[in-house]
């Protein structure tokens, strides 16, 4: 009887979000990062290295000198651009996980423009008209590639998650075919772009970083202060409310997806023109998926995305260095990144709920 009267050991209680102090919430988030790094120590130690030294190497490898810092920024730029691209879709609760394919589509269109327009060698300087054509073509194809699933969703209410995912494999397949077939230069690769199709460098990094920073402000204003941004927010909250207010939900979905795909396409252009100077089927390299994490972690806040994408840039660059310098297996760095993301996403639970332990002096016990 005594046993039965006890209350459970741990209870969960929903916090009132308006009362939790922001400082406290950020402390929990910071704590989760520290906790993840601590867990990472175990992984590194198991692999036979010194955890403290390993973290030092990572930090040094990401930020130690100007060249390293440029590499880090280079990794962060596509993540940021792509997170900005999917933010409007996610705000609308349209689960676009096809950014990977939309990037590839953009890169494909940009490459097509290079092959079409830069037929004769034009010297060593970047050609602005060519770059503009590339960017516009990339945005157009990226946008159209995203429009297809949106059209089907609007017309027949198909599942956008599966649809956008599948679209990735189609476009990557197309590029793989081009790479090994019609566009092949040598050994299954596409020829490097002429220098006129290279994005010029600013401060040692291709100027894609300026483009995405401008996009941060544009997306912020678009989401917060425009009629279209308002429509997106209403649809994301309740489809029925949007219909009630007289919004053409299907049209808005298609418009938003086109916009999202166009920005992803622009990221594809930045990647092929600025980073790799050629097209390959791995051009997106998982950016389209990692950026989902960036968008979520920053809770769709454009400015927070800058910080989160930089953090992920530091991690991936640091992990690369770790692998080459300390001979830590590549899998270990993936584990560390995985732990970090897991803890950072998981800590939101503790921001929304709090645990209550059973009080020592049980009131029920007295009855027996």
């Amino acid at each position: 009887m005594d046993e039965k009267l006890k209350s459970p050991l741990i209870r969960l209680e929903k916090r009132n979000k308006s009362t939790i102090k922001p400082v406290y919430a950020w402390l929990i988030r910071l704590g989760s990062i520290l906790f993840a790094l601590l867990l990472g120590c175990i992984a590194i130690a198991l692999a036979g290295s010194n955890p403290i030294k390993a973290y030092g190497t990572m930090l040094d490898g990401a930020l130690g000198n100007a060249a390293f810092r440029q590499q880090t920024v280079k990794k962060a730029v596509p993540l940021l651009g792509c997170a900005l691209a999917i933010a409007p879709c996610f705000k609308m609760r349209f689960w676009n996980i096809g950014a990977e394919g939309q990037i590839t589509a953009g890169a494909l269109a940009a490459t097509f423009m290079v092959r079409l327009l830069a037929t004769k060698p034009e010297g060593n300087s970047a050609s602005l008209p060519l770059l503009l054509c590339m960017a516009l073509a990339a945005m157009l194809l990226g946008g159209l590639w995203a429009l297809i699933p949106a059209f089907f969703k609007a017309k027949w209410n198909t599942n956008e998650t599966l649809f956008t995912l599948m679209m990735n494999y189609i476009i990557i397949g197309v590029v793989a075919w081009l790479q090994a077939g019609p566009w092949e230069a040598r050994q299954g690769r596409i020829a490097q772009f002429p220098q006129s199709a290279w994005l010029p460098k600013v401060e040692g990094v291709h100027c894609g970083w300026i483009i995405v920073l401008v996009l941060v402000f544009i997306i912020h204003i678009y989401m917060r202060h425009t009629k279209q941004g308002y429509e997106i927010a209403v649809i994301g909250d309740s489809l029925r409310t949007a219909q009630y207010a007289g919004m053409n939900v299907g049209r808005i979905m298609m418009r938003t997806m086109f916009l999202s795909g166009a920005i992803s396409g622009l990221v594809g252009f930045i990647l092929c023109s600025g980073a790799t100077n050629t097209l390959s089927k791995d051009i997106a390299g998982g950016v389209g998926f990692t950026s989902i994490t960036v968008a979520w972690l920053s809770q769709l806040n454009a400015f927070a995305m800058v910080a989160i994408s930089l953090m992920l840039g530091i991690l991936t660059k640091g992990a690369d260095t770790l692998q080459t310098v300390m001979n830590v297996p590549a899998a270990i760095s993936d584990i560390i990144i995985g732990l970090l993301l897991f803890c950072m996403l998981g800590c939101e639970f503790f921001i929304n709920y709090r645990l209550i332990l059973r009080k020592k002096a049980g009131k029920g016990g007295a009855a027996a």
């Binding site: 009887m1 039965k4 009267l5 209350s7 459970p8 209680e13 929903k14 916090r15 009132n16 308006s18 009362t19 202060h225 425009t226 009629k227 279209q228 941004g229 308002y230 429509e231 927010a233 209403v234 909250d237 309740s238 029925r240 409310t241 219909q243 009630y244 207010a245 007289g246 919004m247 053409n248 009131k363 029920g364 009855a367």
Partner: protein, 511 residues
């Protein structure tokens, strides 16, 4: 000893959810052979308290005594073991099973399932208390009141001695309610303890022996039903004197505003929801719409608002300045562009009428976000409107940018109603406008409806409480299975008359 008289006694029971105190140190006793009405406004903690007896929640503090012995109820199973059975507001039945199959579902059997024996036992229980139910009928063939009967038999089958019914009459017609009450009286005479959770005063007076009143999570007191009256109970419930009369002035210059003709529509499963509905609404009247839940009320309003695909029929709108407009085949945006000032307060306030994550300003914008040229939204006018609604309707909120989802039900409704009447509509449609609201807010809403009527607006008021419809409306349209069962004058009609119309078209018995 007095203690032994109680079948179940609650002592100092408290329960809180986060910062919200749902129950604050409540004492309550249930006796055998007695019907106790648990009365309180929405959100006063009635259901929470009973859920602790049903094993759904655990109390944070306090103790529960059964026949004087302390017990602990940690799960619905414990609850059954102590002879407590609760009939929840939302029925939990498997549609493709028969009544008897649902009743034995989840019970532990020593041998093989004996469905014939179960059928016989169900019949025996029915005969004993006067239920009418066929144990072999499938649930999907049942009416709401039959499903409720299955739920009640289910707890009796498990040997419940203490029955708790959570708002059992909310979905019943007056006739069905009478039948239920007859059964409850039989059970009381069989020495069972019965608790009925309700906020309808006339039912409390009709069925209960004692009334326990809760207010904002606190126990106010228990009185003998015979020694009290509705006015005194309301005062206990609300905490101060309240007037219960609805003012019903006549508007002199009624003109036809809306004419619906032969309207039919289907839902997405091709089930006919409206079947040749015809009626008119005058400017300057409140037309009540009564009917059992799901008789086509929702589809009727959404058709007029342009939100429901219409199979056939016409909806003609007569603007105050003359002429006529056909609304069928137009989208909500086209209707608005035509200059038809139609206001609609839907049943699902947060899911359809408002944007829960936005503040009052963002919600005011829902009617005006397209105004002005250029790509940017204008917040100035919506902000002013938000402040006006906040002051006029006394909305309680931490600020006009505070997400409306986090406001209480009454304040949510005030935001919605405030926005809709701000457009000075010529047609105002409301669905279950006072559901879940406290008495005071309900009366604010009734007064706003009458105010709109006296402005010359045509008001369509879909309601569920027949007493309110009879007091507030000028005429009442009764729907039954998607058809117009009749239109009655609210000043002369009776509840029984409407109840009959609700169950059969034209009010013919057994139709």
């Amino acid at each position: 000893m007095e203690k032994n008289c109680y079948a179940i006694e609650l002592k100092g029971i408290s329960k809180h959810f986060g910062p919200v105190i749902a129950n604050d140190s409540i004492d309550l006793g249930l006796r055998r052979g007695e019907i106790l009405a648990l009365l309180g406004e929405n959100g006063s903690g009635k259901t929470t308290l009973m859920n602790m007896l049903a094993g759904i929640y655990l109390p944070d503090a306090g103790e529960i005594l059964a026949d004087g012995h302390p017990i602990s109820i940690r799960s619905p199973k414990d609850s059954y073991a102590h002879g407590i059975g609760m009939i929840h507001q939302h029925y939990k039945l498997v549609n493709v099973f028969t009544a008897a199959e649902n009743i034995v579902l989840g019970m532990e059997h020593e041998k093989k399932l004996d469905i014939a024996g179960a059928n016989a036992k169900v019949r025996e229980i029915c005969a004993r208390y006067g239920f009418e139910i066929d144990p072999e009928k499938k649930v999907y063939d049942m009416s709401v009141s039959e499903k409720q009967t299955v739920e009640i038999v289910k707890v009796l089958y498990r040997g419940a001695e203490i029955l708790i019914l959570d708002e059992p009459t909310a979905v019943l017609t007056p006739q069905e309610t009478e039948r239920l009450f007859a059964v409850l009286r039989n059970m009381r005479d069989d020495n069972k303890a019965i608790v009925i959770i309700t906020h309808k005063l006339n039912e409390v007076m009709a069925i209960s022996d004692k009334v326990a009143v809760l207010r904002k999570g606190k126990y106010i007191g228990t009185v003998n039903t015979a020694e009290t009256n509705p006015q005194a109970l309301t005062d206990m419930m609300v905490g101060r004197a309240v007037t219960l009369n609805i003012d019903r002035p006549m508007y002199e210059h009624q003109v036809e505003r809306l004419r619906v003709n032969g309207l039919s529509c289907y839902d997405h499963e091709h089930v006919k929801k409206l079947d040749g509905v015809s009626f008119t609404v005058m400017g300057g009247e409140i037309l009540g719409v009564a009917g059992i839940a799901g008789s086509g009320q929702k589809e009727l309003l959404e058709s007029i608002a342009g939100l429901c695909p219409i199979a056939e029929g016409s909806i003609l709108y007569y603007p105050p300045e003359g002429g006529q407009d056909e609304l069928v085949g137009k989208s909500p945006m086209q209707i608005r562009k035509k200059g038809v000032s139609l206001a609609f307060i839907p049943e699902d306030r947060l899911g359809m009428g408002l944007v829960g994550s936005m503040g009052m300003t963002g919600n005011m914008m829902l009617r005006s976000w397209r105004k002005g040229s250029g790509p940017f939204v204008r917040r100035k006018d919506p902000k002013e409107l938000a402040n006006k609604v906040l002051n006029d309707l006394e909305v309680v909120t931490p600020g006009i940018e505070f997400p409306v989802r986090k406001l209480s039900g009454g304040n949510v409704q005030k935001v919605l109603v405030g926005r809709e009447i701000a457009t000075s509509p010529s047609v105002l449609m409301t669905a279950y406008a006072v559901r879940g609201l406290d008495i005071n807010t309900s009366y604010t809403i009734y007064n706003l409806m009458t105010e709109q009527k006296m402005r010359g607006a045509a008001v369509i008021f879909v309601g569920e409480d027949l007493d309110v419809l009879l007091e507030l409306c000028d005429r009442i349209l009764v729907l039954c299975g998607g058809r117009v069962s009749g239109v009655v004058d609210a000043r002369t009609a009776t509840k029984d008359e409407i109840g009959l119309l609700m169950t059969s078209v034209g009010g013919k018995e057994g139709a």
